[in-house]
Symmetry: C2
């Protein structure tokens, strides 16, 4: 069985990642987090040693949640268009299920740290770069399998598809209109369809 300290730590990070997805990592105060978890300020603090370490641990924790909820399920889908779809649909699903209280953890924190160089920013961008590369790789594989036309640049296709789901997130958080999820899915579906047709046209 896990030791007590580790269990406490995990429960702190569950709360902190939820809180940070709403209001960012900076407004995570030690006192506030202590109150939210029922610990004392110093008791909580001892788990991390500094606020920056708390932020880094929170980012890592959120990353492991994201991988478990979105990436791993999608990577078990078959290579090709199916996997592209699994990644994007899975991402929208994760937003709709409200895995984090304030939308996508990384959308919030990336905007917050885009102009604050340092280890926290680095850790966040690392995760975003990984996500981008999963998407791009999935597009390449679909091309290699002949499911999508080879003439489109995989990076650009990934950019466009990612744009749809990211925009769904920000629009939903701001305006609360759930139609954007359907919009995003339709946009993705149509775009993938158009890349298939392109292949067909060339192949003919």
């Amino acid at each position: 069985m896990l030791k007590k300290g580790e269990r406490t730590r995990q429960s702190i990070l569950d709360v902190s990642s939820a809180l940070a997805s709403q209001n960012g990592l900076e407004s995570l105060s030690i006192g506030g987090l202590a109150a939210a978890t029922g610990l004392s300020k110093s008791g909580l603090f001892a788990h991390f040693g500094s606020k920056e370490e708390l932020q880094l641990a929170t980012v890592d924790h959120a990353a492991s949640i994201f991988v478990r909820e979105v990436v791993e399920p999608a990577l078990s889908a078959p290579r090709g268009v199916a996997r592209i779809w699994a990644l994007l649909d899975g991402f929208l699903d994760y937003l709709e299920r409200g895995v984090f209280a304030g939308g996508c953890f990384f959308a919030t924190t990336a905007a917050e740290f885009k102009n604050r160089p340092g280890p926290v920013r680095d850790r966040i961008t690392e995760q975003l770069a990984r996500w981008r590369s999963y998407l791009e790789r999935a597009v390449e594989q679909a091309q290699e399998l002949g499911e999508l036309g080879r003439d489109a640049d995989a990076r650009r296709v990934a950019f466009e598809l990612n744009a749809f789901v990211q925009n769904a997130e920000s629009q939903f958080e701001l305006f609360g209109d759930a139609r954007v999820f359907a919009d995003a899915r339709e946009a993705v579906r149509e775009r993938l369809e158009s890349l298939r047709e392109l292949r067909a046209a060339r192949g003919a």
Copy 2:
């Protein structure tokens, strides 16, 4: 000539909107802003009366800059596809020119306030809703003029086009790769083209 107070106020807001575009409206501290403008804390404070009023004034100031730099030029373009393009290309231009030091002011502050109800959040979303409605209206006009097919939902088309340019902003701020601007322009161009072809196909 403008009175002294008003000139000072404007120069404060120039600085505060630039700063807020980088690190958000919450981390705008009265003391820090005073130092950045060469005023005393209390001297600066007297212009606004509270931090929230400073934030609101900063949002309004940023909005007027955005309108001057992006919206007004685009609205002087002829109705139809030309105006859609002027809005989106103008937006990308505004990012490339670095009108605000930290990218788009509203991208930063919207993410920051998406989960903080109150007048500041309201003021921000108001601007974003306006931008969205400009885009959507431009798409509708292009349809009315017969430049774009009528079967596509204008709201969804606006959603997709906006997604491209918004994603360009966030990717650029995070990774500093200016290729995303070309990616976004190409994506917009292609999408508009596909809606034109749709019309042609139907019309034939």
